[in-house]
Symmetry: C2
Subunit: 258 residues, 2 copies
């Protein structure tokens, strides 16, 4: 069946979008039919894939609040086997608008309506919050992938994120589980990164979830969005790209047991 | 009178909290009585100031949703002349709870109720979103200070932020203006940082707002929160600290015209 993952962490700037865009690209390159849904009103995933603003007419807002079907909203990214439901600026109002509608936590799940079966993987890029957009992603998904920057404040955030995952699992989606924790933007020269990494891997509850692959801080990664391309397309040989390609392999082994 | 600033940018991880904490500390050291309100449910400002979780009993949520007065919520930070209204985990529910109450956009303004006159500066640390918490900050504030990471995606975010500032200015707070744009986490060795900096300074609308001081990326800054101290206290000589001290001077000159 279709694997549906929410890529989430309420801490801002930890490489949720960078991870979503590059994982989706690598999955498509590995022959998995992949759909990404940009749930962030900022629309960084849509930008990072080079989708011009005029091509973002129907998006995640329309799925949840205007009765649009998946077929209405999906656009090609130009990368073979990789489609996108873009973000539109109307998404900024979605948290408030969703507050007043029936089944407000399951609108995304309902909108998919089974059409996701045309894909092997669906990835939701979540905004940096634990509001109704992220809750909708957790209700529609089976797994939560957590990018984590190797910084002190990040560990504290994990505990808060877990509370929301638990709440959704109890009330809305009993099958929700963690895919894993990916350490991102790691600067191995810096003592703090190494310490936080050791803390997370040694954590009694989260430690077993941490992927072996660690994504290094690499300037080519931050350059890629300005070229409208995922870094693994923009500069395949860069250290960040090589790490994301290794990560995709590890991710697939964990998901598909190969 | 009292200067009230919202430190905001919906883009995550751009050093909103780091800027708020260090600017507030420097303002207090310069003899300005300073209050900080932690409006981020993550509570990173409270953590970065070493406030243990058990001391965060009454906070910003209580001001806006439980009728608490400023006097009920304010706690000392241990730094002379610098008080804090901490964040509590209940704040995660605030966006939704605020959606259903009367005067939902002005609850923070109403709760201050004039008690802010005991301070020379009030700083709001905003979460990475443009929801009701940030709108409340914009309604209660006179000025918006925008930390901006020198990265490509940041520029795109400015346009979205401006729309919310305009909307609040038109409907709720006609006197809201920009304090300025502070370039943060800048890695001068990297070509992209220098390019983005030039773009922002040359921008017809935002260019004149950019402070001369640029905060460099500096590992001591990211170490400071694990010691519960602002970096300018944790390691005054670090390049990040020196930049924040210079920034506070430039900020005061712009605000007070000295
Ligand atoms: N490995 C890396 N090396 C260098 N820069 C990186 C790396 N990963 C991400 N970045 C940069 O860091 C910034 C934050 O990344 P990104 O936007 O993916 O995070 P996010 O968690 O999606 O942010 P938000 O919380 O705003 O949604 C971006 O400018 C991105 O280009
Ligand atoms: N000048 C700097 N040099 C190095 N690291 C920095 C610098 N400024 C901030 N950081 C680190 O970058 C991370 C993001 O900073 P911070 O938490 O202040 O951003 P924020 O905008 O408040 O994030 P959020 O959107 O989650 O509220 C933190 O781990 C912080 O310690
Ligand atoms: Mg993102
Ligand atoms: Mg913050």
């Amino acid at each position: 069946g279709t694997h549906i993952h929410a890529i989430a962490n309420q801490k801002g700037g930890v490489a949720k979008t960078t991870t979503a865009v590059n994982l989706a690209t690598a999955l498509a390159a590995a022959g998995r039919r992949t759909l990404m849904v940009d749930l962030d009103p900022q629309g960084n995933a849509s930008t990072g894939l080079g989708i011009a603003p005029e091509r973002r007419r129907t998006g995640a807002w329309d799925l949840m609040l205007a009765g649009a079907s998946l077929g209405d909203a999906v656009i090609p990214t130009g990368l073979s086997g990789f489609d996108l439901v873009p973000s539109t600026p109307r998404l900024f109002g979605a948290e408030l608008e969703l507050a007043d509608v029936p089944r407000r936590e399951t609108r995304l799940h309902d909108a998919l309506g089974g059409a996701q079966k045309h894909y092997d993987y669906v990835l939701f890029d979540c905004p940096p919050s634990l509001g109704l957009l992220t809750v909708n992603a957790f209700t529609a998904a089976q797994r939560v992938l957590v990018p984590l920057q190797a910084e002190f404040l990040a560990l504290e955030g994990l505990v808060l994120l877990r509370q929301t995952v638990e709440a959704v699992r109890t009330a809305l989606n009993p099958s929700l589980s963690y895919a894993g924790i990916l350490l991102t933007m790691s600067d191995r020269r810096n003592r703090l990164s190494a310490e936080v990494e050791a803390d997370v891997r040694g954590h009694t509850e989260f430690g077993r979830l941490v992927y072996d692959t660690v994504i290094p801080r690499n300037v080519r990664v931050s350059e890629a969005p300005s070229h409208g391309k995922p870094v693994i397309v923009y500069d395949m040989k860069a250290s960040g790209s090589q790490a994301y390609i290794r990560f995709a392999g590890e991710f697939l082994r964990r998901e598909e047991g190969v």
